[in-house]
């Protein structure tokens, strides 16, 4: 496999494993009313490391897998994760990539917005949803659990995608104009 195809394959494999783990294991872990979303965590990591196109494509693929495995309405999770992946990817491409807090900020924001988006989308599709349960019952725990898992998932994704560590921080600086 050429290096150009290896990278998308690795990203796809990561998303596939995350989706399988999500629907089989993590969806059943109920802690304080919420459960961790490793698909979103993996997507955020890939989008931050690889940019908006990767983010959007992986989001679409992840949503398709999750909807297929859970026999949910096809396209709903894809739509949400495509937008989330693209947005986080843009954040990584512009301001966030080199910042240490970028994964945490991205995960928290993506979790909240995806949850709100899912609530609105399901409401528009006529599903019986309770905003109180989704936003007050499950969301705080979900954000907390996602933040706890951010670092290991980000590190693992980074290692799999074989991204070189950022260059060591400069120990000396030269003031401009001198």
């Amino acid at each position: 496999m050429t290096p150009n195809l290896l990278e998308p394959a690795k990203a796809a494999l990561l998303i596939f494993v995350a989706a399988i783990l999500q629907v089989t294991i993590f969806n059943e872990i109920d802690i304080l009313g919420g459960y961790p979303d490793v698909v979103l965590l993996t997507l955020v990591a890939i989008a931050l490391l690889r940019g908006s196109i990767y983010g959007a494509a992986c989001g679409f693929f992840a949503g398709l897998l999750v909807d297929t495995a859970t026999l949910s309405t096809l396209g709903v999770t894809s739509l949400l994760l495509t937008i989330a992946g693209y947005w986080i990817g843009r954040y990584g491409e512009t301001t966030g990539r080199d910042r240490l807090h970028a994964p945490f900020v991205s995960v928290a924001v993506a979790t909240v917005l995806v949850q709100i988006g899912a609530l609105i989308l399901h409401y528009m599709l006529g599903d019986d949803v309770s905003a109180r349960t989704v936003l007050l019952g499950a969301l705080p725990a979900k954000v907390g659990l996602n933040l706890l898992l951010t670092l290991p998932v980000y590190a693992l994704t980074r290692r799999v995608l074989a991204i070189a560590s950022p260059p060591a921080t400069a120990t000396e600086v030269r003031l401009l104009g001198q």
Binding site: T24, T68, T73, L74, G75, S78, A108, L125
Partner: protein, 311 residues
Amino acid sequence: MLLSLVLITIYFREPAPRSRPAGLSSRSSTAVKRRVVAGVLVLLSLVLITIYFREPANGGLHGVQSAGATVLRPFEVAANRVASPFRDAYGWFSGLVHAKDENADLRAKLDRLRAQVIQNSTAATENADLKRQLDYQQSPEFPKDFNPVNAEVIGRLPSEFDQQVTIAAGSSRAIRVDDAVITADGLVGKISHVGGHQAQVMLLTDPDMKVAALDLDAQSAGLVGHGEGPGTLTLDRVRKSAVVNPGDSIVTQGFKLGPLSSIYPANIPIGYVSGASLSEVDLFWQVQLSPSVHFDSLRSVIVLVPKKRGR
């Protein structure tokens, strides 16, 4: 939640994207490319949602999804098998954490169920009592000149001075003082006080109670009154010439002398002879009785209202 708000604030307060030098065609083509990709994927998602909703359950997209789920199934099974020990361990610890709360819940539930069992048992006993009373009222043994008024026992005042109970029926149901009170087992007593919707019953074991009675087997008359011990009765004024044997049935005499008549109808069971003694100096038999009615466990009674009084 607070943490989320803080992080969202950081996100939106980040500096704007770094400006790029204008005129770089590769940059702009990348921007167009990523917008096209994102737009196409969003559009594709919307198309998927639309088709999924509009097609029947056996439509093409549903079939593809079903096939996809079948393909994913082995991976899910494998993941489940790998995760099973960890899930069991998590369940075990989670069970320990929740065990205390669960224990309290189960104890509360047990208490509720125990109370319910007691209520059911009480209701069953009450039901049996009421059925017996109804059977008795419809039997030929029930006194013909009286209307039955069924009443629940709502209060008890049995003491060494008074042996009385309160019932939930009064003058509104044509009950008057001195009306006889019975159960399916036998004579209970008589009405001593009447209110609008409740009345007081003087039990047969009250020191002030006297009832003209008859030994059904020996046909010897006497007067039933309270005994020496609590809840016991005696049959007094039985002539020495009469024959009294243990086990004889004692019933109300129900005499009638001209315009006067006993307030108790005849042949209402009172009790059984439990012991009888006679000494040479005594004028009458000393007869001890076991009451037919269990005065300690009265739940409901029948007040006999004479038919001529009406309601």
